[in-house]
């Protein structure tokens, strides 16, 4: 296992689930309850020292019990390494702790995840839709059950060339 992942495991054995290293990227999966603590550790620990947030993303796995995956990628400018923190949330209770208090840039990135995937962030200062209109109620576009051609208002029209 990668040294960074090992360090996280030693410090938070209960929060640590697994670590994968593939193509040089280190990804550490943690439990939702420990995400904020581990992120704080990754941010503050002098050995890991990840002071730069790269992106916040989300993946939808509709067949899994814990359907959504929230992905944080952070980088250390001084140590020049990156680490990916992932956590899973079920659909019935898709909320994780916001990391805006550690990296302020997470504010917009988390808003985008909320907008696109519908995952809420606890203690986020301004959790609103960001790319879709505020009054949009048709769901969350990047979920796998959302059709690629879109849905909503346009579905109420009849089109002449429809074959069905």
């Amino acid at each position: 296992m990668h040294a960074l992942a090992e360090r996280i495991q030693q410090e938070y054995p209960r929060g640590f689930i697994k670590a994968v290293e593939w193509r040089g990227d280190v990804a550490v999966t943690v439990t939702r309850e420990f995400l904020h603590d581990i992120a704080r550790f990754v941010h503050d620990d002098p050995e890991i020292d990840c002071d730069y947030i790269v992106h916040v993303s989300s993946v939808d796995w509709p067949d899994d019990e814990e359907r959504f995956e929230v992905v944080y990628e952070v980088y250390s400018i001084r140590k020049r390494h990156r680490i990916r923190l992932k956590t899973r949330v079920p659909e019935s209770d898709c909320i994780v702790d916001s990391l805006t208090d550690l990296w302020r840039g997470a504010e917009f990135m988390e808003r985008e995840v909320y907008d696109m995937m519908g995952i809420r962030f606890r203690h986020h200062p301004d959790l609103r839709r960001i790319l879709m209109p505020d009054e949009y109620t048709e769901g969350y576009p990047l979920r796998k059950d959302f059709p690629v051609q879109g849905k909503g208002w346009r579905d109420t029209f009849e089109f002449l060339n429809e074959t069905t």
């Binding site: 193509r23 790269v54 992106h55 993946v59 990916r84 840039g105 990135m109």
Partner: protein
């Protein structure tokens, strides 16, 4: 001229009581005047927003108290579309992200897929990629220089920068048949080699260009108004800039030398000698200076690449992933079938996930790809610098004058196509 590098402090007293003027005692009868904040919508159709961006400005007098960006007017669901197409089919979509600098988007995307597929690109292709990427960086900085100065009232440099940008766009036209939406990069290499005529034209440009940069500099730095409107405006400290995830010249202006070309060298950059200019004050002027210096550095990089480049193939030879050469597609049935299958069904990517960041001229442009096998990405996330820079807009604009809002857009070099995706 005295330069202010610290952020102006907002007056917390929201209610202003007008004192009685002793020369006009009749004003004593006037009631106490109360001031309140004014909400002003800037955009969506405002020429300085480079696309369609709306910002709700809360003003106290002419000072910005809070600004709330409203984005998404150009949202096209590119990430969703990526899940529906094969890896090769997504390349033209990346052109439309940052439509001013399509080449660098192609480059960033192709690098990400190559990392996923574990493909090594042939050496000549690496040099070609670096050359074209640096040409694109020059174009991006020229565009920025012209429009940013135009937005805040310095018009002349716009014409000069765009005159020279035109030469490079015509060069792109000859290279790949398009000026803006180029799609010249391919997974595993590039679409075609540079012809000797193109190389000669590029060499001519490299001799012609550096004196022209000096010209741009004169137009701006001798312009007192332009200097007054950029010095000490949109200041952000290194610590805050890192916390907000800023990248590219916007971050380097604050004194952090984070440049992926040096931090995680890729392509032919490790074989070239160049320096990364870093600012001191973290204001708009420093970021301007960095961009100008980067143009000189880009010229150096292109020169070195042209000198070092050896003959060789321009596409990796991995038939299961990379496209066959165009001549063979037209003459050989197997190659045609292979090309057809690669585009329609895609190649079989291994399950896994990667993130690959590339230093575009705006900042770190990254692609996070999750694959579950098969020909289509399961999830593709674009880390676009413009979007992340907008996250710092409210923080960076507080306390400045309303006219500075335009400067602050300009300082990020935002393009909404990339911001909204």
């Amino acid at each position: 001229m005295k330069e202010t590098t610290t952020k102006p402090v907002l007056d917390d007293q929201r209610t202003t009581v007008y004192k009685v003027d002793p020369e006009h005692p009749e004003s004593e009868s006037l009631p106490t005047l109360r001031t309140e904040e004014l909400l002003l919508n800037m955009g969506p159709q405002h020429p300085s927003t480079h696309g369609v961006l709306k910002v709700i400005l809360e003003l106290e007098g002419e000072r910005l108290v809070k600004s709330t960006p409203v984005m998404g007017f150009l949202h096209r669901g590119v990430e969703k579309l990526a899940e529906d197409g094969t890896y090769h089919q997504f390349i033209p979509h990346t052109d439309r992200l940052d439509y001013v600098c399509a080449m660098y988007n192609n480059f960033a995307y192709c690098r990400a897929v190559e990392k996923l597929m574990n493909i090594t690109v042939p050496e000549r292709a690496e040099y070609l990629r670096t050359i074209v990427a640096e040409v694109q960086r020059i174009i991006g900085h020229q565009f920025w220089l012209g429009t940013q100065a135009l937005d805040i009232g310095a018009m002349t440099v716009f014409f000069y920068a765009f005159r020279d940008r035109e030469i490079l766009l015509d060069w792109f036209d000859e290279l790949c048949g398009a000026r803006l939406t180029t799609s010249w990069y391919r997974i595993g290499g590039v679409e075609r080699d540079l012809t000797p005529a193109l190389i000669q034209k590029l060499r001519q440009f490299l001799d012609y260009f550096p004196p022209k940069i000096d010209e741009y500099v004169v137009f701006l730095e001798k312009n007192r108004i332009w200097v007054a409107r950029t010095k000490g405006v949109a200041v952000i400290s290194a610590e805050d800039a890192l916390s907000f995830g800023l990248s590219g010249p916007t971050l380097r202006g604050s004194g952090v030398d984070y440049d992926l070309r040096k931090y995680e060298p890729y392509s032919a950059y490790p074989r070239c000698e160049f320096s990364v200019p870093v600012g001191k004050n973290g204001d708009t002027y420093d970021r301007y200076w960095i961009r100008v210096q980067e143009m000189y550095e880009s010229v150096k990089i292109i020169q070195q690449c042209l000198d070092q480049m050896q003959e060789g193939p321009v596409m990796a030879d991995v038939p299961s992933v990379t496209l066959p050469p165009k001549e063979r597609v037209f003459t050989n049935l197997d190659s045609m079938i292979q090309q057809f299958k690669l585009f329609s069904q895609g190649f079989n990517a291994p399950p896994g996930e990667i993130y690959c960041g590339t230093e575009a001229h705006k900042g770190e442009l990254g692609f996070y790809i999750v694959s579950t096998g098969g020909g289509k990405p399961y999830r593709l996330k674009i880390r676009s610098p413009s979007f992340i820079h907008m996250g710092a807009f409210d923080y960076m604009s507080r306390g400045y004058m309303i006219a500075d809002a335009v400067t602050i857009f300009g300082t990020y070099d935002i393009v909404m196509g990339e911001c909204d995706r």
